[in-house]
């Protein structure tokens, strides 16, 4: 123990936390890895587990429900993160203007992201309600045919959910990118202005390139958060109509914790972790694993 203390120095201070994470994060994750190799259903009264090797994984890769939910997830992540980034950038530039009252605007923009995602989802479920909802009334006023409402129709439901996410999280991107703009050294832009660059050129050739690292990291973080999307799907559509809004997360929840086919559910969650790990590695590559000492 004394030797360990010396060799690891202050890192021994992390041991309690690491022990906790080992017991309640890594052990469960390892357990998931193990049961993903079994045919294991809690609904089976005999409680039998049969080792099936990679069969759960092979089944997953051929399962149209899994592939459909994966498609929905990727569409959701791609469209939402992209639009949030573009809108966020626009709003960030707007916030960066030297106008009185902007500090208030920034504070007010915080409102949506402070809401519990469940509550945000409930608000939008009400807004989308085909009878009374404000959105439905607006669309009706504009003469747009509603059918069973935006979330009631298979071809619009996923987009309606994407909008909820855009509504809740664009402000975060806006404020992040605004902070990025504010931390840029002003000299380069001033020099460009002296050389006769107009505002657009200054933004396009000076600010935007300087902002690129922040843009990349914010996009990756947002994409990883979007892979967790669950609350709004659960609350607003329950994956429906049909399977139009079933994302991978929700599908895993259904398989593992509603149908209690835990072996198969674990295999699916391992696959999801694999996908997110790619983004995580990308993120690590961008911020540089371990090479920036304090």
């Amino acid at each position: 123990m004394g030797k360990l203390l010396k060799r690891w120095g202050l890192l021994t201070w992390t041991l309690p936390a690491l022990a906790f994470l080992l017991a309640f994060a890594l052990y469960p994750l390892g357990y998931a890895l193990v049961i993903s190799l079994f045919r294991y259903r809690l609904t089976d009264p005999t409680g039998s587990r049969a080792f099936v090797g990679l069969q759960n994984y092979l089944q997953a890769l051929q399962d149209p429900q899994v592939l459909g939910s994966l498609g929905n997830t990727l569409l959701f992540v791609g469209v939402a993160s992209g639009l949030e980034l573009i809108l966020g950038l626009g709003i960030a530039v707007l916030l960066d203007q030297r106008l009185p009252g902007m500090a208030w605007v920034r504070a007010l923009l915080l409102t949506p992201m402070a809401l519990a995602p469940v509550v945000a989802a409930l608000v939008w479920r009400a807004l989308y309600n085909p009878d009374f909802g404000l959105v439905s009334q607006l669309l009706r006023g504009l003469g747009i045919p509603l059918g069973r409402g935006l979330v009631g129709e298979a071809h619009t439901a996923l987009w309606a959910l994407i909008w909820v996410d855009i509504w809740q999280w664009t402000p975060l991107l806006a404020i992040t990118l605004f902070a990025g703009l504010q931390s840029q050294p002003p000299e380069l832009l001033q020099a460009a202005q002296l050389d006769g660059a107009n505002g657009w050129q200054g933004f396009r050739y000076i600010s935007l390139p300087l902002l690129r690292p922040v843009l990349t990291v914010a996009l990756l973080l947002r994409a990883m958060e979007l892979f967790k999307i669950f609350d709004s799907v659960f609350v607003i559509t329950g994956g429906g109509p049909g399977r139009a809004t079933e994302v991978l997360n929700y599908h895993i929840f259904k398989v593992g914790l509603t149908f209690f086919d835990v072996g198969y559910g674990a295999a699916l969650s391992v696959l999801l972790m694999g996908i997110v790990s790619v983004f995580l590695a990308l993120y690590g590559w961008v911020v540089g694993w371990g090479d920036r000492a304090p």
């Binding site: 357990y31 509504w167 975060l172 404020i175 835990v262």
Partner: protein, 304 residues
């Protein structure tokens, strides 16, 4: 790696910003139309605020309407605000019970996360070398993983330990999500704090623990308070862990709201009141803490 230190460096008020050069589209315009630009910009600001705040304003207004009026489309027609919905709701739904449950679990898990996370953050901040950096990023990695991957095995584990529908199970699960965050956040805080005073304490014969306990920890109190409040907000907003682990006895607020909402779907006023009750405390907290709140959410995105 200086990701989380010194929020003061970002100018946030107009006067602070005024001291430096900011890109300004007015430069792009011919002089005679200059006066239009602030107008245009304020128009855009108004549009943005409308889009992001209208849904909540709508909910607030409806929650203050009563009786027949709560179903009508024209909001301002004979609008007389009343607390009727809130009063009735308090009697019909065990809101107090949900609040108490949420309070127990959030305080418990936050305390546990602080207890384990602060020393971890301190160790990571004060130990030079790539091991510490790698470990810190691994912690961040755990935070970014999808919770569903953890929830399924965690559910089985808690079932075997007979901890379903218990405060303990919920506290343990929420602590997992919080510890990595606390360690990561506090590490940034300690990194940004000058070491001189701690070194002086060490020279004066303090142990490392003494220097931490008597010098570093008191100085980091603002960070500790921030991270605690963020931890409480996380519990308040969390939906996944109660959905999977809680039962009749330990129902937390978010799940309670969802169930009550389904009951009140037609009773617009009640439902909106419930929404407002759920939103207000955390909204006020987040507004008060806005810089730190954003910082907690974007940990890793912006460096200075």
């Amino acid at each position: 790696m200086k990701l989380l230190e010194k929020p003061e460096q970002v100018p946030t008020t107009a006067s602070e910003v005024g001291s430096r050069f900011v890109w300004d589209p007015r430069h792009a315009v011919k002089r005679p139309l200059r006066w239009l630009y602030p107008l245009l910009l304020y128009g855009l600001v108004a549009l943005v605020l409308l889009v992001f705040l209208l849904p909540l304003g709508w909910m607030l207004l409806i929650s203050l309407k009563t009786g027949q009026g709560s179903q009508t489309i024209n909001l301002f027609q004979s609008f007389r605000p009343s607390w009727e919905n809130y009063r009735a709701l308090w009697q019909e739904v065990p809101v107090a019970r949900y609040l108490l449950n949420t309070l127990i679990v959030s305080v418990g898990s936050t305390l546990l996360a602080l207890l384990l996370g602060i020393p971890a953050g301190y160790g990571l901040a004060r130990q030079p070398g790539s091991w510490a950096n790698g470990l810190a990023l691994a912690l961040l990695g755990i935070r970014l993983f999808p919770p569903i991957a953890l929830l399924l095995p965690f559910y089985l584990m808690m079932r075997d330990l007979r901890l379903l529908d218990s405060y303990t199970g919920l506290i343990l699960l929420q602590s997992v999500f919080k510890i990595t965050f606390v360690a990561w956040f506090m590490r940034g805080f300690f990194v940004g704090m000058p070491q001189v005073l701690e070194e002086a304490a060490l020279v004066d014969g303090c142990s490392r623990w003494g220097a931490f306990w008597r010098v570093a920890l008191p100085l980091s109190l603002p960070g500790v308070i921030t991270v605690s409040l963020l931890g409480l907000i996380f519990s308040w907003n969390d939906f996944f862990s109660p959905l999977v682990l809680s039962g009749v006895r330990t129902r937390l607020l978010t799940l309670g709201i969802l169930e009550a909402f389904s009951t009140y779907e037609v009773a617009w006023g009640r439902m909106s009141a419930l929404g407002v009750i759920a939103v207000l405390p955390v909204l006020l907290l987040a507004l008060g803490l806005q810089r730190y709140y954003v910082r907690g959410l974007t940990a890793g995105a912006v460096r200075e």
